[in-house]
Symmetry: C2
Subunit: 251 residues, 2 copies
């Protein structure tokens, strides 16, 4: 036998997880997957995820890899892990990749989606942001267009998570409607901590139409200023986690 | 003040309810609504629902009414009840109707939908039937067409629930695809206990394409026979509750 590198694609409902990253005494996605691999193979692997999703955030196509020396067919991990996993995580694919493959470092881009429902829903409340304020679609779309390109997103992340270089290249960013939902879709080479949720929070703030609204509203100009000339000032509007989905990771 | 008849339209996620009908020591939709009306008005009303949904069955447009002598504006019951209700029930409308109105007896027709997902989903497992068997859409649709019209549905209900007259007039019945879902929609003047779930169970049985399937499959002819000449024999395939939605009640 020899070492193999196994890539898995995973869907999960983030509601009952303390996020992706393994933590002592918490139910996490990485923790549950690592446990299922241990139950399947008897081995404790180092599971590398493409991105760390926060508590409550969902994934349709999270991607991870682990190196293991085991006789099980790479394609069989899908069913084997699903057998041990709870129903709110599903392994959708499993296959062998070259030993060099690294799920985080080799990601070319990631796509996220953020769902906003205009009305409270008894059925989908943990799968979208229920925001009953009236939103100006045009203003949202104008803000989304400003995001596209390469910018320093230091004002749009958790302060403690700032790196030396906070530039991200955003390939696409747009809003669209589907049924009763307003959806924001964004694709980029890199995302800082909470960046999508803070971008959505800021756009929803500047897009809110509410004559009786006494809180300070961002304007499109202010949004552009912060985006093009980041300062120490951070944007303080963070959309809640349950609307966010990690959709695809492209290699 | 005087007595008023209040009509409410309700959406709920049936997952965590022991169905519509009030029962001692169980969390039921009728029970929670009656409690919220009591909290709002101090009065215990007799809440009449259009249809009794079973445990796990959802509703987008369940309808109910209650007679009350209280000064609260009829339109205000919506927000008042939602204030007391858990997030998995939403009152969508409330308004006054004539004192004669009865949510069950005066229903002209009801529409139900049944959702089947071809793949297991980490996100929607309580909101559809996850049926991974391959289904022949044409055969399903042919069976649905047989259902339309006035028939004696005694073979398609819980035996103990049979009435003297088990005829129902089905106006529409069809299957359609939407995204990854297969949906059955049915509209009729009356539905017997478990009738939609048993119809779906029978259609899925006869529509299943599976060469290694050793269990007895219904054929379209057998389905038509049972439908047009009901006997004591009951259909024993019952689709699970989580795929079923009471969509609309029309008056």
């Amino acid at each position: 036998m020899a070492e193999r590198n196994i890539k898995i694609v995973i869907e999960y409902r983030g509601t009952d997880y303390a996020g992706w990253q393994i933590q002592a005494n918490q139910r996490t996605v990485q923790g549950e997957l690592t446990k299922a691999i241990l139950q399947t193979t008897g081995q404790k692997v180092n599971l590398i995820g493409a991105g760390r999703t926060d508590a409550g955030v969902h994934a349709l196509g999270q991607t991870a890899n682990f190196i293991i020396d085991h006789r099980l067919d790479p394609e069989k991990y899908k069913d084997a892990l699903n057998y041990y996993l709870d129903d709110d995580i599903r392994v959708k694919e499993s296959y062998e990749v070259s030993l060099e493959f690294h799920a985080r470092k080799h990601a070319l881009w990631k796509r996220y989606r953020y769902l906003i429902g205009a009305e409270k829903s008894a059925l989908y409340r943990e799968l979208r942001w229920e925001n009953e304020r009236s939103l100006d679609f045009d203003r949202l779309q104008k803000a989304a267009r400003l995001i596209v390109g390469k910018h320093d997103f230091s004002s749009f992340c958790v302060a403690a998570s700032r790196k030396e270089d906070n530039h991200c290249f955003i390939h696409k960013a747009r809003w669209f409607r589907t049924g009763p939902l307003l959806v924001f879709e964004i694709r980029g080479n890199r995302f800082l901590h909470n960046m999508v949720r803070i971008l959505v929070g800021a756009m929803v703030n500047l897009g809110t139409v509410d004559p009786d609204h006494h809180r300070e509203n961002l304007t499109l100009d202010m949004f552009a200023d912060i985006l093009y000339a980041p300062t120490d000032r951070r944007v303080v509007f963070t959309a809640p986690p349950q609307g966010l989905y990690l959709v695809t990771v492209k290699y």
